[in-house]
């Protein structure tokens, strides 16, 4: 809401500066988000007095000596015919930038030096008058800033009005607050004289007729009250200067005196008004009704709009002529030819205006206010005020006024115990101060002591409970004057969410491992039939919620590849949206971790100019590390995956026996041919239930008391006191037999003294029988109490080789 400080002062004649008003509003009412001196381009101009003047022969120029308050008289050449000695004029010193952009410099004209410029109204952007420089009558000393002398400056205060306070959408509404905060009483604006006689309204429950005009309200819920004033003999033309100035100050353009008057009332008093050309209303009739199916209307902006029965319209005897509370029709618009006017001041159902403007895709100053709520109780006053303003500004007589409908029911009273203030704010506010504060902004307070009964004024729609009154007390007192005390608190009952704790551990592990965390958008294109879809997406190619995180990471990797970044190692801990049972519905959420590896596994170094690229084994290692970070102490197992899908799934990953995710070769990546292969890991940390915790309005406390997640402590294993014995087995393994199968057989056969079995080598190629490869295992044995003898080790080796050959056909490489 744009507030003109000068306009505000016509309603509450305070003497505070605009800066102080800004600070008061921000501290107590609503945040001032903009603050702008109008005419700020004239801030560096001063007034100066011409002390001497002589004509320069054979020119229109004069050579003058000017007092600009600097102490020395300045020599100034001027081309205007009206330079008069002893008179003050606007003066631009050298270095001043003119509104048109020219910078005034010292220069020589016809041999005379000119140190500045005396200005005309047009040069200052103050009008079209270019007959000469602008004489100023003032008692101010030369050198005084021009804006301090001429009444042309104003301050535009932009107030961020939130949806609960539509009463602040007018100068009167803001003035009420300033009045309460400064103690300066509100007054009638002196802009007009209120000399116009307004006949008392002809009233009716659902219709009224007077002065040859009939008003009928068919939808009384949609329009609880409709006021109309008939003004005849109006002369449409330009607005008076004061009105143009008021509208200009809030950034509004003058159109004509009638439209300007309604805009002045809208911004001044907060109630939207509309002026119809009465001669264009068929049957001189107003009907407030729902639009009929198929009805159309060309609105003021020249657009033909299709109306629906969900919209409330103002119609004449034949057709719709305005969308109620949103915009008038072009047909009945006030033009220069208009002489008779029907001024509408009505109240419309907020929801109907809201749905109407939504369907039309049209938000106007009027709909904005009706949606939030106007002051219905003030309607008769504003009808009279609106009619009087138009008649005074545009001439004519207010022939009659009509008022259909009923006055709004008074606001329900709220019981209020001032002791609630201390309970919520921390310190007591004396009861008489509570009463004084509420009364200062129009609340009706009755009762005494701790049992007050409070009614909000008709312009406030946001007060229904006692806490609302506490807020009024708090803000009027000032939040900065309220206490500020750090007190001891009881420990909370809520344990850390285990998924947060897991996610943190996983993230720390991956960062330590050299990966980069991303926080991308979770939207994607359709990947599956039953994938969750956003019903109103911003972009059609981002209309679906992702089913997995590697989808997102793949797109991010492609983004990097497009920028020639081939060494990509990204991870995310985020949400996957599972497909639902029905089409396009959410089947649940999971918190997952995913990582993508591509390119060099470490930065190049002069000792290793081409470091190895990330491969499947790096991805497998990463999966192990992530799983151990998420589930400390758990058993992590990899199973060869069934190979399907666009990407090449290598392993599924099971943690303590249940499958948690997979490791994949990301073969579907849209990668240039110079890119290295990409590998992905994705593990599900846990489900995030979407279901209701408890029925609405109820709770269901968990039986278990607050406790952290169960962590099995690591058990200490005594360090070995005896030396180990090792030997290697280099085996020829047929390709169809897995290393895991060989290793399992070794573990089962070697006996309990086997400490570890590790693959240390694999060789494929020349010198081996077809269909075999050579795999080397190192076996470590240890007896807890004594050194193993060579004979014992040899025995185990022989026994192992025998079993391996018998069970799997695996023989030593050398044999």
């Amino acid at each position: 809401m744009n507030i003109s400080h000068e306009w505000l002062k016509t309603l509450v004649p305070h003497t505070r500066s605009a800066d102080e008003v800004r600070d008061l509003l921000t501290a107590h009412v609503a945040t001032v988000e903009g603050f702008e001196h109008t005419r700020s381009e004239l801030a560096s101009f001063v007034v100066a007095r011409v002390m001497e003047s002589e004509k320069i022969p054979d020119t229109k120029l004069s050579f003058n000596k000017v007092d600009d308050g600097s102490g020395t008289l300045l020599e100034v050449v001027c081309g205007a015919p009206n330079v008069t000695v002893g008179t003050m004029y606007p003066f631009a010193r050298t270095g001043t930038t003119m509104p048109a952009g020219l910078v005034i410099e010292k220069r020589k004209i016809r041999g005379f030096t000119s140190n500045g410029m005396l200005c005309s109204a047009r040069e200052l952007g103050l009008g079209q008058d270019h007959d000469g420089i602008l004489p100023i009558e003032t008692a101010a000393a030369p050198g005084t800033p021009l804006l301090d002398v001429l009444p042309i400056s104003d301050v535009r205060i932009v107030v961020d009005v939130l949806p609960n306070r539509p009463d602040l959408l007018s100068h009167r509404g803001v003035a009420r607050e300033v009045s309460a905060l400064t103690g300066v009483a509100m007054v009638e604006p002196a802009d007009w004289t209120a000399a116009v006689a307004i006949p008392a309204p002809v009233v009716g429950e659902s219709s009224a007729t007077a002065g040859g005009v009939a008003v009928r309200v068919d939808d009384r819920e949609g329009c609880p009250r409709y006021g109309a004033a008939i003004i005849r003999g109006v002369k449409v033309g330009p607005s008076p200067e004061w009105l143009v100035k008021r509208l200009e100050a809030i950034g509004s353009r003058s159109i004509n005196n009638v439209v300007d008057a309604t805009n002045y009332l809208l911004h001044g008093f907060g109630h939207p008004m509309h002026a119809f050309d009465l001669s264009k209303l068929e049957g001189s009739t107003i009907v407030v009704r729902r639009a009929t199916a198929g009805e159309t209307l060309t609105t003021l902006d020249g657009t033909e709009r299709k109306l629906t029965p969900s919209m409330l319209v103002i119609a004449d005897a034949a057709h719709a002529t305005a969308v109620a509370g949103v915009m008038g029709g072009l047909e009945s618009e006030v033009t220069d030819a208009t002489t008779d006017i029907l001024l509408e001041v009505a109240s419309f159902h907020a929801g109907l205006v809201r749905s109407g403007r939504r369907v039309l895709g049209l938000s106007t100053d009027a709909s904005y206010r009706f949606e939030r709520g106007v002051d219905d109780a003030a309607l008769p006053e504003l009808l009279a005020r609106g009619a009087a303003y138009i008649a005074e500004i545009a001439g004519g007589t207010v022939e009659t006024t009509l008022l259909v409908g009923a006055a709004p029911t008074p606001r329900a009273r709220v019981s209020f115990a001032p002791s609630r203030v201390a309970r919520l704010l921390g310190d007591a506010v004396p009861a008489d101060e509570v009463v004084a504060l509420l009364t200062s902004i129009g609340f009706d307070v009755q009762g005494s002591g701790d049992a007050l009964s409070v009614a909000a004024p008709s312009w406030r729609h946001d007060v229904s409970r006692d806490v609302d009154l506490v807020e009024e007390v708090a803000r009027l007192r000032g939040y900065d004057r309220l206490p500020d005390r750090l007190t001891g608190a009881r420990p909370g009952n809520v344990p850390d969410h285990p998924l947060h704790t897991m996610g943190r551990r996983v993230r720390d592990a991956l960062v330590a491992d050299g990966l980069l965390e991303v926080r991308p958008l979770p939207f994607t294109t359709q990947r599956a039939e039953s994938q969750a879809r956003v019903l109103n997406p911003l972009a059609q190619d981002e209309a679906y919620l992702r089913l997995d995180l590697l989808d997102t990471l793949s797109r991010r990797a492609e983004y990097n590849l497009n920028r020639m970044q081939g060494n990509v190692r990204l991870f995310e801990v985020g949400t996957a949206f599972l497909a639902g049972s029905g089409a396009e519905s959410v089947g649940g959420e999971e918190i997952r971790v995913a990582a993508l590896l591509m390119g060099a596994s470490r930065p190049p170094h002069f000792t290793e100019p081409k470091p190895p690229a990330f491969d499947a084994w790096d991805a497998k290692a990463l999966a192990t590390r992530v799983a151990h970070a998420a589930w400390p102490g758990a058993t992590v197992e990899f199973a060869e995956a069934v190979r399907d899908g666009a990407d090449h799934c290598l392993w599924t990953v099971a943690v303590d026996g249940s499958v948690r995710g997979h490791v994949s070769a990301l073969t579907s990546l849209d990668a240039p041919n110079w890119a290295s292969p990409a590998f992905g890991v994705e593990l599900t940390l846990g489900a995030m239930p979407v279901a209701y915790v408890a029925p609405t309005g109820e709770h269901r406390y968990l039986a278990a008391a607050a406790s952290g997640p169960a962590v099995t402590p690591v058990r200490y294993v005594p360090l070995p006191a005896m030396p180990a014995a090792e030997f290697d087995l280099a085996l020829l393994v047929p390709t169809h037999i897995s290393a895991a199968a060989v290793e399992a057989l070794i573990r089962n056969t070697a006996g309990e003294l086997l400490e570890s079995v590790v693959v240390f080598d694999e060789y494929r190629g020349k010198g081996l029988p077809d269909g075999t490869r050579s795999v080397g295992w190192r076996l470590t044995f240890r007896h807890p109490e004594r050194t193993l003898r060579d004979k014992e080790i040899e025995g185990r080796r022989a026994m192992l080789l025998k079993t391996l050959e018998k069970e799997l056909g695996v023989v030593p490489r050398s044999a």
Binding site: H28, V494, D496, H497, L515, L521, E589
Partner: protein, 342 residues
Amino acid sequence: MTLDEFKAACAALAADAPAQIAAVADLDAWTALRNALVGRASGRLTDIMATLPQLPKEDRREAGQAANAVKLEVEALLTARESGLSAATKSGGDLDLTMPARRRWVGAAHPVSQVIDEITEIFRELGFTIALGPEAEHTWYNFQALNFPDDHPAMDLHDTLYLQGDLVLRTHTSPVQVRTLQQYAPPIRILAPGNVHRRDPFDASHAPTFAQVEGLVVDEGITFADLKATLTHFANRFFGSTRTRFRPSYFPFTEPSAEMDVLCGVCKGSGCSVCKNSGWVEILGSGMVHPAVIESAGLDSTKYTGWAFGLGPARTALARHGIPDIRILYDSDVRFLEQFAR
């Protein structure tokens, strides 16, 4: 040749060797010296040993022992000198020590995560724990339970992305307030970080998905004084010693509602372009939990009071790192992310 002469030759070798060995400057000289002293072909000791057959049989054993002792002594000195020389070669020699170290890829948490972590640490000290909730949320949790009036302009503050059925993508983290109040009895002191979604076009200052950090305290006797003091403490810890300002605001789920500003970090309150000349920068929205919210979780609002706040860590991340466009946070360019390694 007598035994005494033999022993004298050995002693002379033993006496000369230490100085000769110490004088060796590099491995080539060392090799030459070793050959000269104990080399099999023409070393001094070999020459001495060659005279052994000239000795009487009964003296040979003693002579051999003497020669062997000298050999061990000299070889030990040579070995020590060799390792000294090769260490010197490794640590200096012809290596250029200005060459760069071997590197590993550096990892980094996302700058927004780093801000969330810092916030979390500060509130942890004050006894807050972490709660989470789903991003696909029931409209009741997202709106009605939080006292949003149906079909009211207040809803316009949250441009919502709708899903099938009764679900929306949550527009704020505040639904976690109600879920937590339904699941745990007071006292409640939680922080709820998470992603939220709005139907905002993706531009330099808006993203359809962004992080929020919600805070909630509910217990008996909680007041606005606690809110001001706790959030001011947080601001001082997070921004370094600063000042806070609270001003009236509106959220359907708090009453009274307050925005908290801190002194502008650039101009320290005197006014500049960053703070639009106000001297203050908006940090978070807060307020006393509306009794309707407490009641929506089946709690007695005459017994329990509370306060809540919500802030957007992305804005802080952009400001502190001087990032001009929010989309950079989402692009995931490795060259950008690497800058935040710590």
